[in-house]
Every structure is written in structure tokens, then in C-alpha cells.
Symmetry: C2
Subunit: 217 residues, 2 copies
DNA sequence: TTATACCATAGGAAAAACCCTGTTCCAAGG
DNA sequence: CCTTGGAACAGGGTTTTTCCTATGGTATAA
């Protein structure tokens, strides 16, 4: 009976308590070891540079300060394509899932899954190279409607600033004052965003911003 | 050397993965055993009824579906005052912390603490009956401003329903239709809420609802 | 140099949101 | 029976938001 080398896992999550707990859980699994954790994407880059041993799998939280999951997975797929990234998040928001998968994640796990599912996912991602839970698979199918062309939909600096300010009790006129622009320009941003994001009103904008973690409370 | 009986911990969190991981972590601590977990407050009530052995400490997540942390801790302090409740949440929002503590929680832990801190908290809450991290202690002090009179500010059923619907792209007229009320009545709710909550517009309402976990995305 | 594209901006108008005050109905308490 | 209070709702006015279309300026690619 030859003892195989374990698969190395890295955890990226700003919630230390969760990360630490998850480590204990993973160490009860057969054939997996936790290499290290990182608090965010930037921290992970650091850790990768410092350590000779690369992780086989990275469990990556999406909403983090500093360098979030989207940026991180993009960096990883470009610089370390051999590492398999499993996204880990609480929201099963379709656009978020798709964005992660499109960015290069090999799977998407909801944080409310049963611990056993995690072991299953880890094994499957090592064997097959990807893992998709039923729920996510469903979302994937559901998303195959041809519309799209949603080429990553980039928001410009000013639009993001506006969005953040719009997530407050400020009036557009006040926002214009803060941003040092004409109210009419602000109205232009608003309209452009409504079109791009397929939303109907300011509340929709706030919701979109929160769901996509462009703004936060 | 007499072996003491361990302290029993129950975990209430709708994120199974987190709960499961946390269990593994706690079992590495000296003198603590996890009795069971529950997905939410209602589930916890169930578990408490079924099991003869009561937990000594409950680690309680705040934002859960069905029966959230606030309701749960209230129920616990009324029905099982001997159980020490530690609230567990990611947000360090002042109003949320205060609301939990006022509702009877013996401590408030942010989910981004170091795992060692959890052990410290568990030990301290068993010894002293309470635990407050530096951060929370600060918030507590900060909150001792005399203003308040914030007599728990109860929202009625209809107001909450309205609030939830207002957190969407629906128009007030549409909300009125859904709730089967006159648009003018809806306007009344709106006004009443704006006054009670000291907010200026619908975005403010959405933000309030989210911060106080009355609504969720 | 011209076409193109993008940005800030404007006019004008309809719809929705916001605000204040007042009426009716009904139930509960004195 | 009368009073009080809350809930639903209306009238009517002001402010913001929303929507559509259009123009001048500047950078840039052709």
C-alpha cells in the first residue's frame, strides 16, 4: 500500500474564524492538507511567492476587501493556471456565479452546503478538473440563453463613484455637487447605467451594486 | 487528576459548511464539545426539545432565514436563561451589536477573528458569564451616549412587508396592488417609516432594512 | 484631415416620489 | 353613549427621478 502525497489546499477568506475552522475540517478529509490561508487576493499572491510548494486547490471566498475573488481568480488563471480554484460564497446569485466561472473558477460552492459535499467537491476537482453542484449546474443551464454578449460589462471609474454615492440618501443634484459635475451629466451616468444593467430605477441600482459588491453598506 | 465534564456547545448557523467546520475547530479546544448544530432558531428549538442535555453555550449566527438571531436570543433568554449565547456575525454594525446584546446575548464575536480568540471567548464566557472583544467593548462605550430612548422601535407587519417590497424595482403603485391596498395607504406607510426611522428617501429605507436585517438581497 | 467616439452638458416633459393635512370607519375603554 | 386611537384612504402641491433627444469639445484612429 503506497502512501500517496496529499493534495495541498489553500484557503482565501477574510473571515479568519471561518478559514481556521475550515482548515480543521479539511484535515479530517483523506488525502488533503491545508498549506496556508490568506486574508485576500493580495495576501495570497504574497504567500504564493514565499512558498516553494504551490497549492493544488484554492478555496476562494468572493467578497473580500482589498482584492476580491474576481480579481484574484483572474490573476490565478493567468499566472498559475495549474491551480484549481473553487469559489466559495454565500450568495447563489446567478450573475455572480457566472462571473466567477467565466473568470476561471473550476467550481462554485455555496457556503451552506453540507461538509461532506466539500470533500466530494475536492475529490472531484482533483479527478475531473471541475466540480459543479446540482444547484450551480442548474444555474449554468439556465444561463445558456443566447442573449448575453455580456462581455464582462466594464464600469468606468466615474460610473462606479456615482453608483456608490447613489447608494445613499443624497439627491442627484447633491451627488453632482460632490462629484463636481453638472446634474445633467449625472443624469447621463444614471441613464447609461440603467441601460447597461437593465434596471429600472435607483433602488435597482443600489441592489445591483450590492449584489455585485461594487458598493457595500 | 479528575476529568471534568466538558462544556457543551451548540452551533446555530444556516451555513452548513461553516457550522461543520466550526465544530471541528471547537473539538480541538480543551474542555469543549459540540452537542449539535441547528440551521436557524426554529431548528434550535426543536433540537433543545429533543435532547435531554442542554448546551452550556450557544454560538448564534445573526442573519438566518426563518428565525433570525434576534428572535432566537430573545426566546432563549426567556426560556433557557442559563444558556450563554455568543452572537456570531460578520458585520460590526453598531446598531446590530447593541440590539443583540440588549436582547440577551452574552457576547458578540465578529467572524473575522482569529480562531484562538474563539477559544478565549468560550473560556471567558464560562468563567465570567460574558465576553467582549476590544472592538465590541469600544462600540459599547461609544453607544453610551444618553440620546436613545430608542425603545426598540417596533415595526408592524404591514410596514415590514412594505419595506421588503420597496427593496425592489417596483413602483409604489405596484406595491399597493400586490398588497391589495390603495396607493395612498402605501404612501402613508412610507411617510410613517420615513419619520420613525429618520430617513429621507426610498434608498434610505433600503439601506436601513438591509443594515437591520429586516430585508435581504 | 476627416471621421469616429466619447464625454460633459442641455431642454423639455411625463412619471414617480415625497410631503402635509384632513376624513371616514371601526374597535376598545371609560 | 362618548371619547380616543389606529388604520385606510383622499386631495393636492412640490421636488426628484426618469426618459428621450441633441450639441459642442476633444482625443484618436484612419
Amino acid at each position: 500500500m503506497t502512501k500517496k502525497q496529499p493534495n495541498y489546499v489553500a484557503i482565501v477568506d477574510d473571515h479568519l474564524l471561518f478559514a481556521g475552522s475550515l482548515e480543521k475540517l479539511i484535515e479530517t478529509f483523506n488525502g488533503f492538507d491545508v498549506l496556508y490561508h490568506a486574508k485576500n487576493g493580495a495576501d495570497l499572491q504574497q504567500k504564493i511567492k514565499e512558498n516553494a510548494q504551490l497549492p493544488d486547490i484554492i478555496l476562494l471566498d468572493i467578497n473580500m476587501p482589498v482584492m476580491d475573488g474576481f480579481e484574484t481568480v483572474k490573476w490565478l488563471t493567468e499566472n498559475h493556471p495549474s491551480i484549481k480554484v473553487l469559489a466559495l460564497s454565500m450568495e447563489d446569485d446567478e450573475t455572480v456565479i457566472l462571473r466567477m466561472l467565466r473568470s476561471g473558477a473550476k467550481g462554485y460552492l455555496l457556503k451552506d452546503i453540507h461538509p461532506d459535499k466539500l470533500e466530494e467537491a475536492l475529490n472531484e476537482v482533483m479527478e475531473k478538473g471541475y466540480y459543479h453542484s446540482e444547484k450551480v449546474a442548474e444555474t449554468l443551464l439556465h444561463s445558456l440563453r443566447p442573449d448575453d454578449s455580456s462581455v464582462d460589462l466594464v464600469l468606468k471609474e466615474n460610473e462606479i463613484t456615482f453608483m456608490q454615492l447613489a447608494c445613499s440618501e443624497m439627491t442627484y443634484k447633491e451627488i453632482a455637487a460632490v462629484m463636481n459635475l453638472s446634474p445633467k451629466t449625472i443624469d447621463g451616468y444614471r441613464q447609461e447605467l440603467f441601460n447597461k444593467l437593465h434596471i429600472k430605477n435607483r433602488v435597482g441600482l443600489v441592489i445591483y451594486g450590492l449584489k455585485n459588491e461594487i458598493i457595500s453598506l
